[in-house]
């Protein structure tokens, strides 16, 4: 029997943990069921709002309707997308994926902590490795789901007009990258809540309460102390409404906000992870 060599590095263990998270998704009935459920939801979204998108977005009447609803200039970039399907996907995905994230990433730690499985892990891997490994694993899972949905949308667009293939792939890559960055702070926040909660459901409820309370707080701050309104940018998803009206490389101009939020949240989460009793 070959004995274990010198202990693996923290980074190596983070990767091992992240890969096991992916393995959980693909080698497990529950994981496969969630992929099937996700595919069905996106299948419906693709078949109805997105498939009909090209007709709507190319229609001047629809453009006038949207402009009157949201204001001239508020959604003008939406009509600049070369691939109409991806424009609709962008609008929906920008809000739906963070919402999925709250559910998908809710069990990063909660079950393992309450079940005591963490105690087996911390005998072999540092708390840093476990924390970042799980986070990376959850991001990899979400990246897989984003790629799945974007690929289906690209295929839908190409099936309508094969000349769009180049633009669809380019925009698809940009949308994937943008959504991945958008999801970072949501997943990091769920990591913290999942450490605190004893079940995934509790973590989800806490997330909903968090956003509800912070929205109310921000509304109050905007009203009573507008000079502090910039605090809004500390909240994950604060930039989403502004990102709707962007496309192509311009969307990446908002990346700094979620990246900074994710860094701060990961720092807080790591501190919490190190101090928490298991």
């Amino acid at each position: 029997m070959q004995a274990a060599s010198t202990g693996p590095s923290q980074m190596s263990n983070s990767v091992t943990i992240a890969l096991f998270e992916l393995q959980k998704l693909f080698n497990n009935k529950r994981g496969i069921l969630s992929i099937v459920a996700f595919s069905l939801v996106w299948g419906i979204i693709l078949l109805y709002p997105i498939r009909g998108a090209s007709d709507y977005l190319l229609s001047p009447d629809f453009k006038a309707f949207i402009a009157s609803f949201f204001g001239e200039g508020a959604v003008n970039q939406l009509f600049q997308w070369q691939v109409a399907e991806l424009a609709v996907f962008w609008c929906l995905g920008l809000y739906l994926f963070p919402l999925f994230s709250i559910f998908i990433a809710a069990d990063q730690f909660a079950s393992d902590r309450s079940r005591g499985t963490f105690r087996f892990l911390t005998l072999r891997a540092s708390r840093n490795s476990i924390f970042f490994g799980r986070f990376i694993g959850q991001m990899a899972i979400q990246l897989f789901l984003v790629i799945l949905a974007v690929s289906a949308t690209v295929l839908l667009a190409i099936s309508r007009d094969s000349s769009l293939i180049g633009a669809a792939i380019f925009d698809g890559v940009l949308v994937t990258l943008n959504l991945f960055i958008v999801l970072l702070p949501f997943t990091a926040l769920m990591a913290i809540l999942s450490l605190h909660a004893s079940t995934a459901r509790q973590a989800t409820v806490q997330a909903i309460v968090f956003w509800a309370l912070t929205s109310i707080a921000m509304a109050a701050i905007n009203f009573y102390a507008p000079q502090l309104a910039m605090l809004e940018w500390t909240l994950p998803g604060a930039q989403l409404s502004s990102m709707i009206n962007t496309q192509g490389m311009d969307s990446l101009s908002y990346s700094a906000i979620p990246l900074l939020q994710a860094l701060v949240l990961l720092f807080i989460g790591r501190l919490y992870m190190i101090r928490i009793a298991l």
């Binding site: 274990a4 202990g7 499985t117 105690r119 911390t122 005998l123 072999r124 298991l278």
Partner: protein
């Protein structure tokens, strides 16, 4: 290098003090027992040693490193109380995952998982999910995970709690056989079990270290014999005490219960050694056996020394 060195270790949970200035230095060797009533702080001490919780004050070193140090990863292992594997994945896949975290490559990690499962006799259950196992099997799997990578120190928190006698016996035999290469620290309420497995016994009470007893020394000093008879009535108990008290080598005899007698020899300031055992004529023992034969008393056990419970609680 000491196995474990605690200095003024305290742990508070709110207003409850689970550990109160525990200072102890343990050396390696035979398995070490950690004993104490419920709420004495045994699990808290184990949790600090494993790095699950941090101490409120004081220091603790294991194998020369502070508890929770990354240098201890894979070197110490534990059977934590009430910890369970993920019910959604097979036992083998989870154990292989643990092995890979300890540095085993994919193929070797699977082989290591099989090795530890064979140690506990559960290789055939490797592909089952944890929920499909009985309590006893689950405990054995938890012990298997503790043996991954042949750690230097294994902490077992109540390893036989909730096990049926047959499985508890198997587990004791397993620990006994593994103890040749691995240092165990075992927390348990089962004193008979600890007496069979361990040499040193640490007694915690109300968060404080009250006793540290060596079972071997207790037997070596040859001061006591514990005689257990099969059945005794009250009249017979008195008779046994009277008859045995007559021997000049017996200083005192008292009945611990209706069947058990603690016999104190006349003090001899001499230590026994394997090549020269004390009382090598077994004078007192011979006298006891003669009296047993004479009075047709059936004996169950004659133990050199006190029982652990008598040592700790008398």
């Amino acid at each position: 290098m000491s196995l474990i060195k605690c200095h003024n270790l305290s742990k508070d949970f709110g207003s409850t003090q689970a550990l109160n200035n525990v200072s102890i230095e343990l050396e390696g060797g035979k398995p070490i027992a950690l004993v104490g009533p419920n709420g004495a702080g045994k699990t808290t001490l184990f949790s600090i040693l494993c790095g699950y919780i941090s101490a409120t004050s004081g220091t603790v070193e294991i194998l020369g490193s502070p508890a929770g140090s990354p240098t201890l990863l894979g070197r110490i292992s534990a059977l934590p109380q009430d910890a369970a594997l993920d019910p959604n994945f097979s036992i083998a896949s989870q154990l292989a995952f643990f092995a890979s975290l300890q540095g085993y490559k994919s193929k070797h990690a699977r082989a290591e998982a099989k090795r530890v499962l064979s140690l506990v006799g559960l290789l055939e259950s490797a592909n089952q999910k944890p929920d499909s196992l009985s309590h006893g099997m689950g405990k054995r799997v938890a012990i298997a995970q503790a043996m991954i990578g042949e750690p230097e120190l294994v902490l077992l928190d109540e390893p036989t709690a909730g096990l049926d006698p047959a499985n508890a016996k198997k587990l004791r035999e397993l620990i006994d056989s593994l103890a040749q290469h691995t240092q165990f620290i075992i927390s348990s309420h089962n004193l008979d079990e600890l007496e069979k497995l361990c040499d040193q016994v640490i007694y915690l009470e109300k968060g404080q270290l009250t006793q540290s007893v060596s079972i071997q020394n207790n037997q070596d000093d040859n001061k006591f014999l514990t005689l257990t008879l099969t059945e005794c009535d009250a009249q017979q108990v008195i008779q046994v005490i009277q008859v045995l008290s007559e021997h000049p080598g017996i200083h005192h005899i008292e009945s611990r219960n209706a069947k058990e007698f603690l016999i104190e020899r006349v003090a001899i300031n001499q230590k026994s050694t394997p090549d020269k055992p004390l009382n090598n004529t077994y004078e007192v023992e011979s006298f006891i056996f003669q009296q047993l034969q004479k009075h047709h008393w059936q004996y169950k056990q004659l133990l050199n020394g006190k029982r652990l419970e008598d040592t700790l609680f008398s």
